[in-house]
Symmetry: C2
Subunit: 143 residues, 2 copies
DNA sequence: TCCAATTGTGCAATTAGTTGCATGTGCATA
DNA sequence: TATGCACATGCAACTAATTGCACAATTGGA
């Protein structure tokens, strides 16, 4: 993600494109898949050493509220962030071997539809992490 | 939940029924609905003042691993715990007014089935919190 | 009943994340 | 281009939760 692209994205969300925010966005995009706050912090600091970790967290919170990023706790001690694309996906985490699999958002559409029909509740599911046992581990005893 | 019942529950999970653990379990059950770690701590301390907060967290972690309790982050700053019953339920949290609604576990069964069919992944969904907009708030603009 | 092995606890230090407040910056308006 | 206001940031203090380690309690087996 270029500087110009991150500026455009921020403006489209109604957020001020400050240097800190642009660097944070770029760190998220330049990482393959998920990235944690501490890693964003390290990356941004290389170009902007004065940045404070609370700015990272506040920016991530803002981006989350605007559904620009997904926020996921895969049970690894710190939370992971990812840019939300058109093609949303979610994760299955194996409790036994730790493997992480992806599934497409359309698996959740029936659930969204039934909650809307049953309760008139409009779910905003940016990202789910579902824990369980993968195919390989279902025979195993160490759960 | 009586002392004897909590002892039985702990033994059935293969856990030692220590006084601390029995009091923690009783605090969870005696609370209507969800309870947070700090409130469990306060309650247990009345009968067992020497207890340490880390014992609370370690016991909760154990009970979670044994699927005896559910662990939920409703976005209130601290995580909530609840005894798992046969009739599992989940929550919808309105991002606009904060209202919390319940839905029955059977809404999730099609999802579990499709993940199993599609990926041979056996989901263990003890508790979900789904965020979105309730019926009353869907017209509002303050998201 | 006693004892060793195992498991659990308290304590203190640590980590991830949050908040209040004073200061600094970006942007619309003139 | 200047100016004021709203918004953003850094800093320091704080909270919720976790961890390593030494000591304590519980259990099964002699």
């Amino acid at each position: 993600m270029t500087r110009a692209e991150s500026e455009t994205l921020l403006r489209s969300l109604g957020l001020r494109p400050t240097p800190q925010r642009m660097l944070i966005l770029q760190a998220i995009l330049n990482s393959p898949g998920h990235i944690c706050a501490e890693d964003i912090y390290e990356q941004v600091r290389e170009e902007y050493p004065h940045i404070n970790i609370s700015t990272i967290y506040r920016t991530l919170e803002l981006l989350k509220e605007h559904h620009a990023i997904s926020v996921t706790d895969l049970g690894q001690g710190s939370v992971l962030y990812e840019l939300l694309k058109e093609e949303r996906h979610h994760h299955m985490v194996c409790l036994c071997c730790g493997k992480i699999l992806e599934f497409d958002h359309r698996f959740l559409e029936p659930l969204e539809a039934s909650l809307e029909e049953g309760y008139r509740f409009k779910a905003q599911i940016d990202h789910f992490a579902i824990f369980g046992l993968c195919a390989d581990c279902q025979g195993e005893e160490d759960d």
